[in-house]
Amino acid sequence: MLQRKMWRDLLENKTAYLACAAVIAIGLMVFVSMSVIFQSLSEARESFYRDFRFADGFARVRAISETQTERLALLEGIDRLEGRLVRDVRVHFPDRAENVFLRLVSVTLEQDDRLNNVLVLAGRLPSAGTQGVLLDPDFMEANGLGPGSNFQVLIHGEKVTLQVTGSGYSPEFIYAMRTPMDVFPDPATFGIAYLCLNVMQELFGQEALNDLSFTLADGYTFQDVEDSLETRLEAHGLEALYARKDQTSEAMLSMELQGLQAMVASMPLLFLAIAAIILYILLKRMVEQQRGQIGTLKAFGFSNQEILLHYLTYALAISAAGGLSGGLLGSWLTYPMMAMYETFFNLPGLTGRFSWLHLLGGLLFSLGFGALAGYLGAKGVLALRPAEAMRPAAPPMAKRTLLEGWHLYWNNLNVQGKMATRNLFRNKARSFLTVLGVMSAFSLIATTGYFLSMFDVLLLDQFTKVQTHDIKVVFNAPADYRHVQRELARLPGINRAEAFLEAPAKLKHGWLEDEAVILGIEQDSFLYNLLDSRGERVPLPPYGIVLSQKLAESLQAELGDRLEVESPFAEESPVYTRVSDIVPQHLGINAYMELEALSRLLGQNHLGTAILLAATDGTYPVLKERYRESPLVFAVEGKGALLQKFNEMMESYGYTVWLLAVFGLLTAFAVIYNSGLVSLSERKRELASLRVLGLTSGEVLQVLTFEQWFISLFGILAGVPATMLLIHGMADAMESDLFSFPVLFEWQPFIIGALGTAASIWLTHQVLAVRVRRLSMVEVLKERD
């Protein structure tokens, strides 16, 4: 029978309980979906890495013979070491405007248990001696190729026809990007192709290998073998030596997993905590309101435990409803989300799944929260004695509040304002919790707004302030730039041509070291700019090296410090230079030097890897055509395609971010609506008396609305530092070597947050207005509570 009472009570205030259940549901949805995805992704990664023998370390060199490779494999700490050829080539699609690149990776067919083995999805690996390639499936599909079809690539300026024999991928290219700067894979313009080692050696006219991968013997770490490998590879023109964790695809994947883990750890807790606040407030109010009923139940002989349990069931019913619907929704969500992950990650076994463990675990979690909130809210019933419970509660104590000492404020209030102010202080615990709730919701909306606007700022800055060139002509290999620069500068439509050098390097400061690309920029460059934290241009010092903030941090280098530089472009390594400036950089890790200073440092003359151009609109296709088959020019890159790619990425991030914003709004509404409802029910009698006195329903509503605006103001104020904390936390969670979020104080997100909160308040007031209008003066005044 008590259960029937519960259902009717719940039904009576269904919006309030529904809103609370919705907040729980959001928490559980995030929990279940994210943790299932996290688990599924990590498991898929583990088994793919294991079964297809993903290497523990990698090295890029200029040239090394097979015999020398075999000798390296004998080094202490190395389990297996394999050499291969890896080359990026341009694909010849005559009717395509943008550049399409293919990374050719050699495979040794004789060996079955090779490292970084290829999972063949369709067709087969090319047979020995044929110019066949196995393509990564995304590239194949995006470019309309299939097993049996032919296409051409440019090798040393020559068109070479390759035949597709099938599709597949390896653990090395789960997340296939051409350079870490790309941030996002784009299968239409970049893909991986596997072909026979001897065929590739023939095509490039090169016996020597240029890429090594190795696994470590048991008990050894990458650091153990790093030095000995490095010394031995120096002679072969070592370009890069890095551990698995720094491998681009693995780094991106683990960054994604890290982000998921951070989400799983924080988001559900936040939502459940808000739901607990709402439940606590609702139950506490209900127990106060049902004093008489509780007294009667006790008089009938119900025990304290039974009554407490009765009120706990409210909390449990709501938690169960929210938890179950959120859990199921989350389980369902894993399917579309995994499908989305599948488009980014080439990883076998990525499908959504239903996990009883996570569903039940999450449900238990939410029930625990509900029970706790319910107990705290309802424990008041224990203290009531039956006779006392049936008497009306003593008139609520009222006191002058601290604010009344502030005459400027107090004397300007109308009576509704005074009532509201004192109400807030009368129920300090509830006011505080409501402030917490509003604060959380506000922070959620504001943080979302921050990241949304920051993405824009970051990318827009990168393309309108940093990389201001229109076209980049990339050389096939580092070379004297003067000839090409002169030629380009003379062409019609080109307003400016600046030489550019991208030199891979290892920077050392004391015992700390890091890999980075040093960008050589012309002294008065207009086409590539350094910016300070306010986005203003920083002049490039004529001497020394400029470090990006993150690089400086990882090297613990300060202005004036001496750095050791090793670079494959250097005549002899190492060379030394001093830090002349430190600038912020959010996309990638770079160091900067004046072009000629860099050339001199490397012991070279006028070395360049590209020419940056400022050009009129129609120039790009002309240049592309002109250098299509040039042996000197590797690619002509326009900025339009790049921008478009970034915009696409924005959109896919945007969808998640908007979802968060909707959650934030819903939470704000749930908190504010419930606190409003509770205030209304608590003061029905007072408000009806005001109506009898002749106040209009609008005037009566003011008592409630003043209270809410006032409390929300505090919530929003508290939300400002909370938002900064949240932004810090999220930026930390998302930070990687490739990408960092600046944490700046911006007004815009706070305005968005405030507007979202205000919208929730406004909506709540519409509901309250109806309820106040419907207040029956006759009913309320007839009886005492």
């Binding site: 009222a398 007072e686 008396s689 009898v692 006195l693 106040l695 209009t696 329903s697 005037e699």
Partner: protein
């Protein structure tokens, strides 16, 4: 003395599920300006319903009711609000003060919304509470709370003062004191006062007594020389 309020065949019923409860059955009456009327009757006789209709707190089901010739039936809620605001003062059995406003502020609240209020401090003086103006209801005794309620109703300077069992929750002495205040307002300002009660003793101080039974006015008694509140007893 002119008619200030007039009811013509007033009916009020409440639909309680399938059952229609008739609280008031075709009641007709006239109330004159400045008179002291007591409505007497047992619980459920319809006296509160009648007071609610007169006070503009509820809509009639059938019939007509006029204040100074202007209808109170079939008018929008906003018109009733204006009527309550400017014309009627209410005193309840359980005071219904705003718990978080001081005595002064409770009275001021009423004064603020009306057209020609009486000075708040004067009214508090009249009910003998000027000393306790800064106290909150929880710091006042029941009698004091009811005196604040009287002050609150009077401060609006209403044409009609409606009192629902004003002494019901008070001891005898305090009750008499409150009745004196009501009588004083009635005589001094020549305003209409209506008191509903089931306490027949109070009826002796009225100009006219309506006796209600089963939703009807069973009798109207005119008292030629009403007693003063001090002479009343129960």
């Amino acid at each position: 003395m002119g008619v200030i309020l007039e009811g013509k065949a007033l009916s009020k019923w409440y639909q309680m599920g399938e059952v229609r409860v008739e609280a008031l059955k075709r009641v007709s009456f006239q109330i004159y300006r400045g008179e002291f009327v007591v409505i007497l009757g047992p619980s459920g006789s319809g006296k509160s319903t009648l007071l609610n209709l007169i006070g503009g707190m509820d809509q009639v089901s059938e019939g007509e009711i006029y204040y100074q010739g202007k209808p109170l039936h079939g008018v929008p809620e906003s018109a009733l609000t204006t009527y309550r605001r400017n014309t009627v003062g209410f005193i309840f059995q359980f005071y219904n003060l705003m718990p978080n406003l001081t005595a002064f502020e409770n009275v001021q609240l009423a004064a603020e919304i009306t057209r020609e209020p009486l000075p708040v401090m004067d009214v508090l003086e009249e009910v003998g509470l000027s000393e306790r103006a800064g106290h909150f209801p929880s710091q006042l005794s029941g009698g004091e709370q009811q005196r604040v309620a009287v002050a609150r109703a009077v401060a609006k300077n209403p044409e009609i003062l409606l009192c629902d069992e004003p002494t019901g929750a008070l001891d005898f002495k305090t009750g008499i004191y409150v009745l004196k205040l009501l009588r004083n307002f009635n005589r001094k300002y020549a305003k209409t006062v209506m008191v509903i009660t089931h306490n027949a003793g109070i009826a002796e101080m009225a100009d006219r007594v309506f006796t209600m039974r089963d939703g009807e006015i069973a009798a109207i008694r005119v008292i030629d020389s009403p007693r003063s509140p001090e002479e009343v007893s129960w």
